[in-house]
Amino acid sequence: MSFALRTRHSVLPGFGLALGFTVLYLSLIVLIPLSAAFIRTAGMSWEAFWRTVTAPRVLASFELSFGAAFIAALINAFFGLIVAWVLVRYRFAGKKLIDALVDLPFALPTAVAGIALTAVYSSKGWIGQYLEPNGVKVAFTPLGVVVALTFIGLPFVVRTVQPVLADLGRELEEAASVLGATRRQTFVRVILPAILPALITGFALAFARGVGEYGSVIFIAGNMPMKSEIAPLLIVTKLEQYDYAGATAIAVVMLVASFLLLFALNLLQWWARRRGGQDS
């Protein structure tokens, strides 16, 4: 990685100092520690690495972390779109308060969210008491993981779709209706394609966040190996057993997965910008 010196002259001072500090701080806090995980793993033989990350218990935890995160992100994509729509398009009492509270999962510590969700969805909880008699067990099952990850990922779709929907401009919808489109056709052919990049971005952000989530999940999941144990918890368990190599190997798989996702997301945004242009 190299940062070439500035290519355009500027009268403003402080470039060297600001960039130097930025790169130094970034390296010390983020890049060197992160590379430690990869270097550690490079010390393992390929076989040992493969055996570690394909052990049944590890695979089960990956399946749960990725699967539950995917389902939760889907739930959030669907309901998040409705929430964003309602917040942008309609007026109703308490809208401002609700708009502000959508960010609660960003502000509320995950441990607090975890114990609160457990309390609400356990068999005696406010919501759980109605679910359990109907055969739906949430707390201490994989379903609980989905609930926690839905909570954690809730703001992402809302907050990415909301501004796009707000700037969509009513002229586009008016144009569609004057051209004879029904409300449904307008939504499917005009509105949805326009917000699709934002919707996918929000989905991917919620998914990425869900895959790595720890605090809110461990209370509600029950943490039974092979059944309701998420990958980050397995890392912690291995660390507590001083199995640094095992913990690091799982971490590397997760890091690579999230970097790939980040890369895909950048591609998506680049594509959406190119296609949509900056203005109408």
């Binding site: 401009g169 209706s177 051209l179 029904t182 296609r275 109408s280």
Partner: protein, 354 residues
């Protein structure tokens, strides 16, 4: 198809956008709704399109009441000021949109759509842009595509909201001539909204002048320019000089001038204003006893065949703008600072309201 609006009223909060407006738009004409911003012209256009609901009054298409019809059922073509092209669709798909959303039994086949779009692209002379996205087009191209899109559904009426408002001056001029030619070709009843008087006068068959939610005057471009019905129209269409005085018994008096104003035969010493366009002003050297208003030449600007003069009235009643042939300017050997005598050759007198 003809359009009538009857007694349309609309408010936005305390603001009166339209105040009991009634108009006829005969079949096949190109009509301009002209007025300053906030005069209600866009609101009226949107009510005709069904994009806005009027509080009172009705809209008739071809004699039939269409007030309760939704926008999508009115089958009008609407061109938006900022084009409103669908940015995720190619030019081709934008134009095809109105055809693709038709109910199945009315929808043309894929080939029908392709033929229609291709012919429209030819009509707007942009057939080479079919596969581009709107973001890759210039403003003028976008506006022509927006027009093609509106025409695709073969509307009986074409409504254009400030169609050239977002374009630069040169493209604007080209496009409005093009629009006029296009209208002569397809002859669809068209209404366009503009705040640019030059545009309205150049393009339209008839001009409707609006101000503060009311219609001020309706007429051909020549009628409204040459015979403005109200002081507002006088002021809005081109520059004008105002001379304040009194009207009595069919004669308007101001300064040492007396001008015939037979239309105000019944006026008795009423406060009145005489309106005169710059080219209707005569300028001459001062000679004692000659009738006219004394004014000092502040600035003379010669542009081609005419000279524009800025004159300051000696009595302190403000500036007068005059336009004379540059030939005359040369003959009189006018110099800045000269004291001149100014006389309106033709005026229109309006009595002060109340």
């Amino acid at each position: 198809m003809s359009i009538e609006v009857r007694g349309i009223g609309k408010h936005f909060g305390n603001f009166t956008a339209l105040d009991n407006v009634s108009l006829d738009f005969p079949t096949g004409e190109l009509v301009a709704l002209l007025g300053p911003s906030g005069c209600g012209k866009t609101t009226l256009l949107r009510i005709i399109a069904g994009l806005e609901t009027a509080e009172s009054g009705s809209v008739l298409f071809h004699g039939e009441d269409a007030t309760e019809r939704e926008a999508r059922e009115r089958k009008v073509g609407f061109v938006f000021q900022h084009y409103a092209l669908f940015r995720h669709m190619t030019v081709f798909e934008n134009i095809a949109f109105g055809l693709r959303v038709k109910p199945r039994r009315e929808r043309p086949g894929e080939k029908g759509i392709r033929d229609k779009v291709t012919s429209l692209l030819k009509l707007v002379q942009l057939d080479w842009l079919a596969e581009r996205y709107p973001s890759q087009l210039s403003g003028g191209q976008r506006q022509r595509i927006a027009l093609a899109r509106a025409l695709a559904v073969e509307p009986k009426v074409l409504l254009l909201d400030e169609p050239f408002g977002a374009l630069d001056a040169k493209v604007r001029k080209e496009l409005r001539r093009w629009l006029r030619r296009l209208h002569d070709e397809i002859h669809v009843t068209s209404i366009f909204v503009t705040h640019d008087q030059e545009e309205a006068l150049e393009v339209a068959d008839r001009v409707v002048l609006m101000n503060q939610g009311r219609v001020e005057q309706i007429g051909t471009p020549e009628e409204v320019y040459e015979h403005p019905a109200t002081p507002f129209v006088y002021g809005f269409l081109g520059s004008v000089n105002l001379f304040h005085g009194r009207a009595h018994d069919g004669v308007m008096h101001f300064g040492n001038l007396a001008l015939d104003a037979p239309e105000h035969g019944g006026a008795e010493n009423a406060l009145a204003v005489a309106y005169t366009r710059p080219h209707e002003i005569e300028v001459g050297r001062f000679a004692p006893g000659d009738p006219g208003i004394l004014a000092r030449l502040k600035r003379a600007l010669i542009v081609g065949p005419s000279a524009r003069l800025e004159l300051e009235r000696e009595d302190g009643a403000g500036m007068i703008e005059a336009e004379i042939p540059s030939e005359l300017h040369r003959r009189l050997a006018l110099r800045e600072g000269d004291t001149l005598l100014v006389r309106p050759r033709r005026t229109k007198v309006f009595l002060n309201a109340a």
